[in-house]
Structure formats: structure tokens, C-alpha cells
Symmetry: D2
Subunit: 353 residues, 4 copies
């Protein structure tokens, strides 16, 4: 059994990986570490886990991190993983980090991200020496690199949806890579467990609100990953919106077509691109199922349409922001890193409605 | 492998059992029968199933029902199962019916229910000869009967929550059995997949509405089951309310205490009553987690408080109306009927939020 | 023009009275006082008010309170009004307080409330000498007292709905006054503007949660007011629930009938009781419209049913918790206190859906 | 008093104008005509109106339409108004039509719309001779024409938000008129009162779904109106999405800038463009309040940001789809047509939350 330590076990991100690992046949949770709710069973503050996981939360003290385990999941905010990843690696553990700490391959790229992220505020990376060892964790695109990696930066939730929605079109040269506009819609759990005015029920209920307009940090890694895939610089205007749902992300992507194609051509292209991928479903032309088909699963559901009059491609990508957008994708990375079947622990049938 | 035929496969009830059986190691779905969407893959109108179940829906013709299978699940409205159960049994299949058709042990009892149910309208039972063979399917209370049964009437969603909430208090004589009042809250999926003015989004969003006040058909079977458990006639005023959520039921139950007890006494009583039950969680005094802890699982979450000033017990029961309130409980019944481990196919970890 | 000073102008309660007074032809807002957001236009943090009210919020310093105005509305938490009401009265202003500070006619009664209210914690009243001068502000029941009062305690939101739902039945002796059970459902704005884990969108969305079971402070004033109306001691078990809506309260009230009556009899009784009342609508038998008909208005919508089998009356009362449950009722009190037409500023047509 | 006849009084569109006219001092409702719920008081099926408007609905027979009134509001689906407008005009009434029937100035333009609208299906206009007399009813842009008109085509809900969001940028030449992309989000009331699978609560709750991707009929009139304003052909890719709210539209508009400007420049441009307009609020740079500030009012709330890196303008427009997007804008048109103050009957203070 692979021994997993979860750092940041008391937030939604930690919760997500706990929920998944409880059904994983090859991985056991050895430690739940955090800085809040220490000394309580996790089911005290997440009562749905009662009887499923009543394990005690322990203090995320520096000496504990990476000790006695084969895998550390940093389900932590930005700038935690970068402090402890080196020691975890040195102790022989593999590391997956949820934050932006290990999504970038150079201190320079990190700086661009750090400037954009409101909670990072432009601060420099604390372990720049690791930035050549980390891998950006989207298995559908970078599976081979992840297989060999000991340090994976799990992507941002919006980035997963954008990148998987656009990668086939970018790689094939179907669209002008400077013309991309993405309008994102996210459920409120994307903001985490901590209450704030932005996530107060009466303010969100009945409301739709754009935020960080053309200034969201996930645009940086999306441009980086798509440039990597397509071999060309990417121009991206990304505007996220809060919508009054708990879980789920929909990214509606717009780009200028370089060729005169129809929806069936796009279908063929996408289907081939994602052939054999267990977690990407490409829907046939005319079927745009919305966010809810993906909720509760590790799937990314992709659909698209062609606006022939204006020469534009529209692609929508739907994910569960806490699964394919976070813990599910992290577990998929872990499965790849440890040479396990990629779907292990991720075979949930979705429930509807 | 047990071969299961689902009749009424295109509604939420049929969908629920499809979703569960996809992960059941001992049961395979052989037929999806229905009167609507015949000839389409089920994933055409339930797109979340795409890739999980793309099986074709076939016509629920009389000759098909019960043929070539070991189990028929009637996920049908009232008065369908009663027409075809006899032939299914005669062909050697075991039968579970979701409706009120086989919840009552006599034509007389059925009549009372039939008068109350708006869609039955007082019509007589069509197979009264079967009414001595059926068993009311709440495994926690009637497990032995279910084990020997070939025909199980799966209970009403509200009834499951009410009965499990009150059974320990009724059986132990803790409460006056004539004093029971239940205020129910249900998610809108309880009304099924068919659109109507009552379930129109703009009418339900932001709204809470009582309906069938002191006149809901689930009260009949609840009184019957609790009388069976407690050996005394039950008086029950039940008022259901529609609340703007998709899934879930909460029943808040009020009754006059016959003894001066505290919350800890109730805890001890309930804990002992449900000791070993895999699908009932009794929460400790002071913890009332709401509906959401039970969503996505086959659990019934029970909590309670004592109003000493007024000598009343308050018990709340939370279930997922489509799982413990319908398909999940049905599968639990099936597992009992076929001598399988009761949790098989029902071990889902709940996701939150 | 009556000059109104609003203390606590930056919460939902203060906002509610601002919204109403903007359309009141006889009252002008002179001061918006608060301890938060001081120095900002109110439309900075309530952007919907932009262009309607851009008045500056000023510091609620002790010397300002009650100065230069004819009316002080304390839209403040418990234990603020009791510190400043005496000086406001001394300066000639009339006072309406939203909290529990002036709902009780004696320090002893206040103590019972104070023990129950989690944020009061049993502390004694700070101005007990005022407790003979205050009036409990439900105009439908205590209009004459309010007319003569200079100090009105505006009732709790749940209390308004419970009291108006039950007053006719209690006064007429129709029900056993010791048998009352109320199951309340409230929108989340009832918890105020301050974010907390309880009101975090992902925790409330899709959820229904009971709280302060048989222990909510509004039960105290409800028993007091109904005892006043009926001349008999009241027994009341009250269980409130959070439901995922922004605005609105529904109270479902259960009580044992002392007479054999039908729904039409109850209709006649209620209609007569509330004849001429501009803000109580009694719906005919069989019509139970839910919460949403009352939203955006100062109405209390009352409906009912008789459970003849169990000899019980069921009455439901629906209000907008921020209007008839708070600011609207406060303005109704103000209109009565100043001899103005009771509907002034409160004639909003409801919008639907 | 102006005598108004409402045709199609039993849908959300008819309801919206009823709600407004109840508070209009110069207009009285003389007839509520419809083809459903005939012979019932409108408050029977819209119970929130009880006591506000209990007027009987009468049959919308051809001979009634336009008789005995000064104003006919066709709150009807497409292709009703075009059958009866001529007779209403001939009888001396002014006409406002909610549908696409009178939004286009030629049969040719109508044809393009008719091809796109799923419920019109390409059928030809039935009164093409009227298509030179009608005016497109956005008062902020076409006030003078409306003042002289007897026949006004009220715009589509999405079109109002798009047009008001983009008009200043188009007219000033700030943006490339061929580069426009609009991502729309609408509340479910936009689909009307009639239940359907698309608007079934369990399907919409927790969901966000794009529809008629780059194929929505409101794009036609938006291009027409913006071309009229800007004097240049418009290219527009418009993708609407259903979001789980009852009321409200947000349009997020993207376009390529022709000049290097900052947010303050855009603010100045927009503020000047809409100076004196009672129903357009231009928010200062950095303030993007979301949909909810506009709900319950006739306002269009506009905000914007500049994506300098990509040379794009982002403008968001928020409206209440049933007010500024339908009945409110219709009443504004009526006020202009009859020479009344434009805000009459539309001065509602918004309520929050």
C-alpha cells in the first residue's frame, strides 16, 4: 500500500482527496495534517464523513511533513508547498501540490503568475531550484513527463477546463492562437471553505458576478500549457464569473478559425485527439450538456459549435471543479506517477439530478 | 450474475437503479424497458451516463416483462407493477416495486392509500391475491421477512425517513404514539422527471411550499409500519413541503414524551436500536447536520433533541430521496433478497459540498 | 418632514429601512450611523443603491445618537439600543429598536430571553427602567398601545409569522394553547450580512438544516404575545430550519383543536379577525401559496388546513423576513406612532417570479 | 387616464406589465385578455396579486383586441401581434409588442430573424405593410422615433443588455465592429411560464447550460441596432447560457479595441453617452456588481474593463430580464409614446439581498 500524507486536510481540497482515497485500493491515508481543527476527527467538521473517515487531524508541523509516507499531497494555499516540498522529496516521497507553487518551470514564469495572484502579491518563489524538476500535471497532455516526475504541480481548476477544451484546436492549428477569449463560470466551492462576503449565501444566491476581469492567474498557466502543446504563443482574454452553484466549472471558449470547418470536422478532430482518454468525453455536434453531467466525476465534458458567419469556433468544457479541477486530477496524476491504472479510485458513476 | 430487468427505466427512479447497478459486482442489467424514449440509448436523454451506460431502451411490452431475468425492478408509477408482478413471479423472477402497489398487506389497507393518492384516485387493487405475499421493504426493521420474500414493496421516500426516525421511540414506548407530527421537506426530484408547473424552476427557486397538508399518502404506510413496530395504533399529522434543492429529504418529527429523558438517553436508545446497521447513522446529542451529509449515499442520518419544557421529543431524519428514499433502498432490499452483502453496490463515499 | 436617524445603517436591517424610506413621502433620512464602513457612501458597499442613496455613513458616536431627529431606528444587534434609547427619548425622539432589547415588559422576562439568545448570553438588561415604557410592536394586535408609545420593540422575524398565524386561533380558544408546535423555515438573510461558516454558500446550497432546536429565542416573545392575546399560558415547541433561499420565512404551526371545525370555519374566523388589516392576507381553504407570494412586500400570507383525523389545526404564515419580519414592520410601527397612514411607504406591488 | 389592454395577460410578460401598471398614476388596465385561464381572476394563478389585482381574464377574441382602449400591449409570443396590430391601430390605439413581430423595418430583415427563431421557423411576416411604421423600442438610443411612433417593437431581453453595453463603444469607433463576442447568462424566467424539460427545477438547479450557440435570434436585432448606431456592419458571435436564477441577465461583451485606452477613458465615454439617462448606471472602473443590483428595477447596470495585453474591451451589462428586458422597457416606451415622464411607474427602489 502506498502511504499518503495529506497536508491541508481541513479545506475543500484536502477533503476532496480524502473522499477519493477512501475508495482507492492501493493507497492508504496515513496522516491528515493541517493548521486548523488540529486534534479533532475530520468527521467533526465534515460530518458527512462520519463512519467513513474519523481520523484525527494532526498539526502540520514542519518535521512531520514528508515523514513516513510515499506520497505527500499539498492541498494547501499558495506558498506552503514550496517551503516543504524539498524535504518531502529528500525523504523519498513523491509530491503533488495543488497550488501555483509548482506549475511553472522557471522562477521567471512564476513571477508573472505571482504578480497576478491576489494572495501571492508578487512575492518570489522560495525554492526556485525545484522549478526544473516539477511537471505540470495534466495527464491527457503530459502523461509521459508525469510518469517520470516526483514533483507535480496540479493545475488550477479553470486551467484544466480551458486547456482540455482548446488543446486539440491549438495543436492542430485550427484556430488563431492569439484570438482566444474564454468566459468562465464557476461554482462557489472554487473559493474554498473559508467564509467571506464574496461567498455569503445571500450575496451569491440569484446572482452572477464577473471577477478579476482579464486578470485571473489561471490564464498564465493556460497560455503556458497551450503554447507548449501548440508551439506558438497564445493570446488569451479570460473572464471568470461566479454562478450560484456549489460545484462545477464551465468554460466557454471563443477563437477565430483559420480554416472553414463544420461541427463534424471539429468532432472528428477532438475525438481523435482524446481517443482512449478515460476522463475526456467529446460530445457529438449539437449536444451541449451543461455542467451537471460532469459533477461527481473526474470527467471533462467537451462540446463545441462553429459560427460560420463570423468564422469562429466555440468550445465548452465542463468539469467538477473539486474533482477534475482539483482532487480528482491530483489522484489521476498520482496514479500515473506510481504506475497504477489511471482510473483507480476514480470510477464513480455520476448521479443525476 | 443476477440478471436484472428495469421497467420504467427512463424516469429518475429507473435512472437511480441504473446508476447503482453499474457498480454492482453481482448484478447485471439485461433490459431497460419503458414506454417513453424507446429505441434510444439511455445516455441520449441522460447524457451524464454517456460512456457508463449507452444501453438501448426497449418497449415495455407485456410479454417482455419478467422474461429472461432473475429480478424485475418496477421503477414505475402506481398501478403498473400490480399488472405485471404475477407474471414476473410466475416466470421465476423476484420483484421489487417502487410504487404503493405492494406496500400494503391487504386490499383494505391499499384502499385507504388509494383514496389518498391523487394519481390513484381510489381505484381498487388489480392483483389483490398477491397482497399476502408482498413484504414492506425497510430492511432495518423487516430484514427477515425481506430475506424470504419474492415480492417487495419499496417504501415511499418520506416514509423511509419518518419510519427510521421514529421506530426506536415508538418501539420503546418512549413517546405517545398518537401524538406524532412530522414536518417534511423534500427536494424537487421527488416529483419525478416530468415537467409541470409545480416543478418549474422560477416557481420553486426562492420558494418553500407546503402541499397535501395532512393528506399525503406516505402517512398511511408510515402509520402501518410504526404500528407494526410498536404494537399500537399511530396518530400522525404529516405536512410535506417543497424546498428548492434537487435531492434530499428532511423529516422533522415531533412527539410527546412519556418519560422524562435527556438527549443522551435518546442517543443511547437510538444507537442501540441501530447498532450494526450499515445505513443508519445516529448523530450524538447537539449535532444536527442537515440534509446534505446524506446526499449521494444510501444513509439515513438521524439526530434529535429533547424539549424538556414541553415534554416533547424532536427527531430529524435526513436521506437522499433518490437513494435511501428510492433506488438505494431498493438495491438494499435486492441484496437482502438474494443473500448478498447488504452494502454491495452501495458503498459510495459522499462528496461535499 | 419627520427626520429619521438610522443606527446600524450598514447591515441588512439598516439597509431594509433605507430602501423603504427612500419612497416615504413624510420621512427623510437625516443620518446613517454605524460602526463599520464609516466615511463611505452607503452605495459603496450596497451598490444596488447607487443613484438612489449615496449618503455617507457616519460614526455612531454616543453623542450623535438621538440628536437632531424625530425618530431613531436602532437597526442594531442586541444590547446596543438599550444603551442609547434613554438619551434619544430624552432628546425628544421616538425610538424603534429591532433587537430583543425592548420586546419585554420586565427585566425578568428579558432575563428568560437573554438566557436563550446565544449572543446575549444571559446578561442583564442595562436600562430596566425603560421596560415599562416600551411596547411590543405588532400593529395588528397592539395598534393602540403602539399609537401612544415612544419606544417600540420591533418583534423577531420568526415571532411575527408565528404570532400572526396563531393569534386568531389562540384568542378564540379554538386550539389548546399548550399544544403548539411550530416548524420554521427561514431564508439565509435572516442571519445578517456578516459572513460565517453557517451562511457560506456551498454549505447552504442544496441543504436544509435545523438549528437551536426547541431553543430559539423568538419562542419567548411568541409565547408572551400569544398569552397576552389569549389570556392563557402558551406551550410552544419551535424548531427553525435554514433553507437555501435569500429572503422569506414560512412557519408551519400545529396545534390540537378543541372543537370539531372545518377549513371553512377557520377561514371565517381568520378573515374576521384580520378584516381591514392591510398587511395580512388570509387565503381561502385549499390555497397554500408558499413563501414567494409575500417576498418584496410587508404582507403576512396566512393559510391553514384541518387534520380532522387527528384533531389538529395546521396554519402556515409566510412573510418576507426583511420586510414584515423586520424593516417593513418597523416602518408600519413608525407610521402608527406618528399618526400616518399605515401603508405609507409600504405599498410595493410584489414581483413574481 | 390612458386605458390599457393587455393581450397575453397570463404569462410572465403580461404579469410584468400588470405589476407595473398597478402603480402607474396615468394608466389604468381595462382588459386582461388571454387564451388560457380565461374566466379566472388573475390572482387565482398568480396568488401574489391577491388584493392587488383580482381582475378577470377575458378571452382574447379578435373583436376585443384594440377595442375601447388607448394602448394595446401585446405580451404575446411571436406571430400574434402581427395579426392584430393593424386593427388596433385602426381603432386608434397605440401598440407595443413584446415579440419579434415589429422589431424589424423590412420583411427581409424579419426573414433573417424568422429563420433563426425556433418557434417561428422561417415563416413570412403576415403584415409586411406595417414594417415601415414600427420603431425599435430602446428609448436610450431611439427616443425621438419612439415619441412619434404608434407601433413599437419592444426589444428582446438579451438584445437590450447587449445593445446598451456596446452602443457607446460602437458609436465612438472605440472597437472593431466585426470583432464582437457576447457571452450571455440568463435567469430561467426568460423561458416563460410554460413548464418544459429545459426549465424543470432538478435539471436547472446546480447547472449552467449553453444553448442556441451562435444561433440565437436576439443576435439579429442586436446587430441591426448597433449598425444603426455605429453606421457600420456588425459581426457578433452570441452564446447564451441558462444559469440557475429566476430573474436577471448578464451579458459579458468582448471586442477588439482600435485605440489604446484605459478603464478611465471608457468610463468617461460611457458616462457621457448615458448622461441624463434615468435607467442606465455606468459603474466606475473596478466595480462590477453582478446581476443582482439590477433585479427588481428597470435599470441596466454597465461595467467594463480593458485587457491591455490583448487589446480588448470587456463590457458587462446587467438587467432584470422581466423589467428592463421586457415589461419595464415596454412601459418606458409607453411613457415616451404618450409624452409622460419616462420614469412614471418605474421608480422602484431595488431590494437587496
Amino acid at each position: 500500500m502506498i502511504r499518503a500524507q495529506i497536508v491541508g486536510a481541513t479545506g475543500y481540497g484536502g477533503l476532496g482527496i480524502i473522499e477519493l482515497l477512501l475508495r482507492h485500493p492501493e493507497i492508504q491515508i496515513v496522516d491528515l495534517l493541517a493548521k486548523t481543527d488540529v486534534g479533532k476527527p475530520v468527521s467533526d467538521f465534515f460530518p458527512h464523513l462520519r463512519g467513513f473517515c474519523d481520523q484525527m487531524v494532526e498539526d502540520a508541523s514542519p518535521e512531520r511533513i514528508g515523514a513516513g509516507c510515499d506520497l505527500v499531497i499539498f492541498a494547501t494555499p499558495d506558498r506552503v508547498g514550496m517551503q516543504y516540498a524539498a524535504q518531502a522529496l529528500a525523504r523519498g516521497a513523491r509530491v503533488v501540490d495543488y497550488s501555483g507553487d509548482f506549475r511553472f518551470e522557471s522562477a521567471e514564469r512564476y513571477r508573472e503568475y505571482a504578480m497576478r495572484h491576489p494572495s501571492v502579491g508578487g512575492k518570489p518563489h522560495l525554492s526556485p531550484e525545484l522549478l526544473s524538476r516539477n511537471v505540470y500535471g495534466i495527464p491527457e497532455l503530459f502523461r509521459e513527463r508525469i510518469r517520470d516526475a516526483r514533483l507535480v504541480g496540479n493545475p488550477g481548476c479553470f486551467a484544466v477546463a480551458m486547456i482540455l477544451s482548446l488543446a486539440p484546436a491549438v495543436k492542430s492549428g485550427l484556430i488563431d492562437p492569439r484570438s482566444i477569449i474564454v468566459d468562465g463560470k464557476t461554482g462557489i466551492s472554487g473559493g474554498g471553505k473559508k467564509p467571506s462576503a464574496t461567498f455569503h449565501f445571500p450575496d451569491r444566491d440569484g446572482n452572477v458576478t464577473p471577477y478579476r476581469i482579464a486578470n485571473h492567474q489561471h490564464a498564465i498557466e493556460t497560455k503556458m500549457a497551450l503554447a507548449d502543446v501548440g508551439g506558438q504563443a497564445i493570446g488569451l482574454t479570460f473572464v471568470p464569473h461566479l454562478v450560484p452553484i456549489s460545484r462545477g466549472i464551465l468554460t466557454t471558449c471563443y477563437a477565430t478559425l483559420r480554416q472553414d470547418v463544420g461541427a463534424q470536422d471539429v468532432y472528428d478532430l477532438y475525438r481523435e485527439f482524446y481517443a482512449g482518454e478515460p476522463f475526456v468525453r467529446v460530445f457529438p455536434p449539437g449536444v451541449t450538456p451543461g455542467i451537471k453531467t460532469a459533477i461527481g466525476t473526474n470527467l471533462c465534458d467537451v462540446s463545441y459549435a462553429v459560427d460560420r458567419e463570423n468564422g469562429r469556433l466555440v468550445v465548452t468544457g465542463a468539469i467538477d471543479n473539486l474533482l477534475k479541477g482539483q482532487a480528482g486530477n491530483a489522484l489521476q496524476n498520482v496514479n500515473v506517477m506510481f504506475g497504477l491504472p489511471e482510473m483507480l479510485g476514480l470510477e464513480r458513476t455520476p448521479l443525476y439530478p
